[in-house]
Symmetry: C2
Subunit: 399 residues, 2 copies
């Protein structure tokens, strides 16, 4: 090529680069301290305004928190983006999948990222959006033995100060991965949020899990919002699940909004919030743990929680605190969407009874066989459970 | 520069380009027909699966529709992205604002777009995400006389077949722009959705407006979801509004989900859906039009709607149809979040009475003065309204 041809080529490349980058080649400089200054160039002005609006006392505290997002797909990627734009301190992303064009019907990933690992592609984009956030990525499957141990280690030591992280968000799409998160969080006594979207794309939910205090994922069959459609007509062999950017975005929004409420201590954190898109119906409830949960660590956490509660003076007990959780005096509707089971009613009871206490509009993803009469000894209960668990696992696998 | 230096520069530029674009330089080829094939390279497989799941009869019909998005900010940009990823036929974007770093606390725009017009930046990104969608952008303020006429013209002739578009979505952040959309849609008898997010960032709503059938934006003071916080403590001079990616994303999700239900005829389209983030409370209701609405076109549409309803055989009337709108037999909760005013109760009544029929948790953004007794003549009513309107306008301006 001649010099003029080369120069021409450089011009074209530079123009293309400029078009792509709109004049910017690097992420902006880091911002040492969140400012409330109302200028167009301040990415935090609208967030810091939450303080002056009386919603949040100390918004900038968000920079101290570390959150793990397990599963960076339709819900997890938007979850990570929302937290990044909110200026979270650190995000730890776990996924072993690659971006595909088949993901383009959900938010966040773009076609040019097809073939890249989801965690790397996400961290690249998110770092560009907000370089103040620290990102740590793990491109592996948390359910293998070795990775599971490493995953546990990052929960224990992944925070900005190399200590325990603040919250785990499960945004995975399968039973095994949810069980792995559940096991890790029960053992580590780690508060977490489970989230999910139905195969028909028109319902979803989030569930806040505090080991020992609320039902863990293993306490009862997974709870889902009934879509009002006969599930039997949905399942067809070899058919991929449907998904919508709307439902995924809603579940991510419900999730991160509750994460903000939990971390920054405002509003009321929902224990279970469902979403039925066909009817715009949003059931809420609390699900108490199952004293006969299969997970040893869950049962241990339940015993510890009960002991802590028993040791408290009466006025400090969790039951009493619950009543005051509506923090705003001017709640001028004062109604609850559905009956929340009163904590005083949640005596130890078999799992089936817990499941019967579900709010209207919520159902279990599958049913355990009815307990046989007079089998309330431990051994019998275990056998009943283990039989049903096999069935359940087979059912889950076939999904 | 020497040839070798030039060649080196080209290498660097190409590497930078490649890094930015991850190997891809152009949007993918257009796809002539939506396919249900389950392969990683099919961007529509998860959407077309909605057919096999029994949710939508004819998903590919989405390609025939044209939707206008007025306001491409926190709600509008995500709305446009969701519709783009769903494969909508055509989007017409209206905004006159530029992207700023201060917008980075909401989804969609990225820092390298700062300074670009919102409609152009959005269309560039969206075209790359889904080149099958046709984009038309208007970088102007719809409230000026000349632009308003052009805006009306695009509603009338902007569709893919140069005819009437299918839906207008208002995602603007101010009173004047909402009134402009309202005026245009009343005159053109154009169905549209209004949306909004509160200044304190913790509540929002969408409202479906069918001229003559439901309340228009001018029929009653704007309806908002009470946040449970004393509004008087919020308003401080010179303070910018707060905003959150979560609330904006939720409102966009609520909006586009209902757009999909409306266009593709599945589920139940919500007339009014509110969102209170502090309590995870989602009120719904229908608001009937105000027979004394200030907008001439609204009153004309009301008369026409009443005449059409009166001419129908009894079993076809809208009132009767309403009862059957829950399309799924297996609705196993069967409850309504809040009382929807029965259509038979919606006799012509002064606006204040309409407003009194609000669902719990919803309030008006401001209150009109109580009507004076014995002023039910047209002239007196007009005077009462026009006095209050001045007050209201002054109040709105001060927001």
């Amino acid at each position: 090529m001649s010099v003029s041809e080369l120069q021409e080529k450089i011009k074209v490349l530079e123009a293309e680069l400029k078009q792509l980058k709109h004049g910017d080649s690097k992420p902006r400089e880091k911002i040492a301290q969140m400012s409330s200054e109302v200028v167009d160039s301040n990415p935090y002005s609208r967030l810091m305004a939450l303080k002056r609006m009386g919603i949040v006392d100390n918004y900038e505290k968000i920079r101290e928190y570390t959150v793990a997002v397990v599963g960076v797909g339709g819900v997890g990627s938007v979850t990570a983006e929302m937290l990044t734009r909110c200026g979270i301190g650190k995000l730890i992303l776990f996924d072993y999948d690659k971006v595909e064009l088949a993901n383009m019907n959900r938010l966040f990933f773009q076609p040019h990222q097809a073939g890249l690992s989801k965690v790397e592609a996400a961290a690249n984009t998110l770092h560009f959006i907000n370089p103040d956030v620290v990102f740590e990525t793990h491109n592996y499957n948390i359910t293998t033995m070795e990775n599971f141990d490493h995953f546990m280690g990052r929960i224990k030591e992944g925070s900005l100060t190399k200590g325990r992280i603040d919250l785990v968000l499960s945004c995975v799409d399968n039973y095994e991965a949810r069980m792995a998160v559940n096991r890790a969080c029960n053992e580590l006594e780690q508060t977490w949020y489970e989230s999910g979207v139905s195969e028909n794309a028109v319902s979803g939910h989030i569930q806040f899990i505090v080991p020992g205090e609320t039902a863990c994922f293993d306490c009862a069959p997974p709870l889902v919002v009934a879509s009002g459609i006969d599930e039997k007509t949905l399942k067809k062999e070899g058919v991929c699940a449907a998904s919508l950017p709307t439902t995924m975005g809603m579940v991510a929004g419900m999730l991160v909004q509750n994460v903000l409420k939990y971390l920054l201590k405002f509003g009321k954190v929902s224990y279970y919030l469902g979403y039925n898109a066909l009817e715009d119906f949003f059931p809420t409830m609390i699900v108490r743990p199952n004293p006969q949960c299969e997970d040893n660590w869950c049962r241990k956490r339940q015993t510890e929680f009960a002991a802590r509660e028993a040791a408290k003076p009466k006025e400090e007990k969790k039951e009493e605190v619950k009543e005051e959780e509506v923090v705003h005096e001017d709640n001028d509707w004062g109604i609850c969407l559905v009956d929340e089971p009163s904590p005083t009613e949640s005596k130890p009871s078999p799992s089936v009874q817990n499941v019967e206490g579900l709010a209207q509009g919520i159902k279990v993803a599958y049913e355990r066989p009815a307990p046989v009469a007079d089998t309330q000894t431990d051994a019998a209960a275990t056998e009943t459970d283990s039989i049903s668990l096999d069935d359940l696992m087979a059912q889950m696998k076939s999904l």
